[in-house]
């Protein structure tokens, strides 16, 4: 019963992605004081690792001015007023006090890749470098029993304080035996449950950990699901996309470090500061969309002139993510910028229902009747034909019957 009530509640309380960006002076004064106190508390703690942020910046040739520019941009991204800039800068410096445990489940490690993109690191990446990664299944040197011991120690030391980052989906088929970890053969599911128990919050990064992603694509042989399908009663933050944008990961950690809270989330548990924007509304090709100017095939005149990619299957009109604003690789470019459509990597059902590079009307999907894959239009035309045939038969039969009747009653 309570399940049903929950479902009904969910049905009607889906939130818009709107963030109230002006909550009034008193609110921000309060928040400022709270954040300041929290940072002071942090400063008193010994850092969990010895990396020095300022040194790292210097090594990478990033000066103070550039760093402050980044801090003010990040403050804006988190939808905080400018007065928070120095606090954000402080929080970034103290990133090595945020204990993070990173689990790697059924996935391609693309998010770890994104996190590590190390050639000419941007400040976002440096920040991620110095977070206190207590345990990272792919990156750490330790292996086997040693690694397991490290995990146990980290969970013990930072009990209730660490952020648990999860990358990859959880295979539920065959009792979870599709994915195991460690010498004891612990399933991914059990592993996740054990590590989430004492986490302050769970951050699911990437399409797989959030909504199942590619492993969950039809026919989903391993029964893959996202974290929020498995872990209940814990704060979960979803940072979908394939891969998740490092800027958004930093945003979430910074927000947590600064305020001790998780950022405002939408109904899919995605932070609104990152997923409150529709690709289509911030796309540089939008004018071509409205004008009806589309790329018809790869490399045609339209493509050369940066026309809209809608007919090449761009799913920007139904995808919420900030890559059109934040972009990738030091803000150099993003998928649509380089001339490919968006494939909706940050939406549930990504892959099956988004990544087919055709307009929705041409998508081959399983018809409601099951069986063969058809487009909606093929199905619809088939249905129409059936109706037409039915009508034809009925009309012909009626005509014949009518004639017969007439000749029958003609001697009236």
């Amino acid at each position: 019963m309570s399940d049903k009530i929950e479902a009904v509640k969910k049905l009607f309380t889906s939130k818009s992605s709107r963030v109230e960006t002006n909550k009034g002076d008193t609110y921000y004064q309060d928040l400022f004081a709270k954040c300041e106190a929290r940072l002071n508390e942090m400063r008193a703690q010994t850092p969990a690792n010895r990396l020095d942020f300022s040194e790292l910046l210097e090594e990478n040739g990033i000066d103070r001015r550039e760093f402050m520019k980044w801090a003010s941009a990040t403050t804006a991204m988190l939808m905080l007023p400018p007065m928070f800039t120095p606090l954000v800068a402080d929080a970034a410096v103290m990133m090595n006090r945020a204990p993070v445990i990173w689990l790697e489940l059924q996935d391609c490690a693309g998010n770890s890749e994104a996190l590590l993109r190390a050639d000419g690191p941007k400040i976002d990446e440096i920040v991620l470098d110095i977070i206190s990664l207590e345990y990272h299944e792919t990156l750490q040197a330790a292996a086997g029993f040693q690694a397991e011991k490290q995990l146990d120690e980290a969970m013990e030391t930072f009990k209730g304080k660490y952020l648990l980052f999860v990358e990859g989906s959880i295979p539920m088929g065959m009792n979870g035996q599709y994915g195991t970890i460690g010498a004891a053969g612990e399933t991914f599911h059990d592993h996740l449950m054990r590590c989430s128990e004492n986490a302050a919050a769970i951050v699911a990064v990437g399409a797989c950990a959030t909504f199942g992603g590619i492993p969950a694509a039809s026919p989903n042989p391993t029964g893959a699901v996202g974290v929020m399908n498995v872990v209940k009663n814990k704060p979960i933050i979803n940072i979908p996309a394939c891969p998740a944008n490092p800027a958004n990961m930093v945003g979430v950690i910074l927000h947590y470090l600064l305020t001790g809270q998780i950022p405002e989330l939408d109904s899919l548990l995605r932070p609104k500061f990152a997923f409150g924007y529709r690709i289509h509304d911030n796309c540089e090709r939008r004018a071509h969309f409205d004008a009806g100017e589309y790329v018809e095939e790869w490399g045609d005149k339209g493509a050369q002139n940066n026309f809209c990619l809608y007919k090449m299957g761009c799913k920007g009109p139904m995808t919420f993510n900030n890559c059109s604003i934040v972009r990738y690789n030091e803000g150099i470019n993003w998928p649509i910028g380089v001339g490919r459509g968006c494939i909706g990597c940050s939406e549930p059902d990504f892959w099956d229902k988004y990544a087919y590079e055709r307009p929705m009307a041409d998508a081959k999907i399983k018809a409601p009747t099951g069986g063969v894959e058809k487009t909606v239009d093929e199905f619809g035309l088939g249905m129409l034909t059936a109706v037409g045939i039915g009508i034809g038969i009925h009309a012909a039969a009626s005509a014949v019957a009518g004639k017969r009747e007439k000749s029958g009653e003609s001697h009236e």
Binding site: A7, K10, L11, F12, S14, K15, S16, S17, R18, V19, S267, G276, Y277, R278, H280, D281, F289, D290, A291, G292, E293, Y294, E296, Y310, K311, K315, P317, M318, T319, F320, G344, E347, P348, D349, K353, Y354, P359, M360, A361, D362, A363, I365, P368, V376, D377, F379, G380, L381, M383, L384, V387, G388, I391, H394, A395, A397, S398, A401, G402, E405
Partner: protein, 238 residues
Amino acid sequence: MNQEYKQVKRMTPAMRIIHWLNAFSMIGAIATGLYIGHPYYQTFIADGAVDKYVMAWNRYGHFIIAIIFDVTSVAIVYLYFFSRFEKPYKKVIPNAKNLIEFKDVVVNLLSLNRKNEFNSTHSDSFNTVYFTIFHLLLLWMLFTGLQMYVWGLGSGLSSIGSWWPWMLHVATDWTLYVTGGSKMDVRLSHHYTMWFIICWIVFHIYYQVWRTIFWKEADIAIVIGGSKFVKQDKANKK
């Protein structure tokens, strides 16, 4: 001859206006909707910049039509229950009388008019159910359509205030869960439903023409002049 037939009023002017408004809106909605789903003609590169607004105009037309549908839907829901003429809801209640009539009309259609055992003077329950299905399909289109519309208001703001996107979310977010959970499901469902509606229309037109030809009661005239003709003895029968 004149005495043999009796004229019966079937549709008020308001009902006829709504009917034709819906009919033409439907054609418009399908034409523009197909373009939005898959742009099937191209802008002329040589067009002046001010004219190059093809998708935008199609979407504009589609939305205006949607608003017309919205308004007529409200009117129709009202008429369903409060019409002083005929209250259609009385015909969709599955009571014995309606069920028998429903069956008789179906039998009439399948027996190619050899059996005709119901009173065709008034709107029968089969037709009323058929129309109810149409209005439910239309309602579904409105909900899914407005759900897609609100994606464009991600900021939560609109020119007429933030209550509007808020209201759209409250009113239509359930379509996401009902169709399967993702935005694409809503879109696909909207597209499928169009085909159901097209099939509905095809049968509707056929059936009205068929009635006119075989019943010989000028049913097709209802939607134009508002009335049809029934043989006097039949009209008095029930």
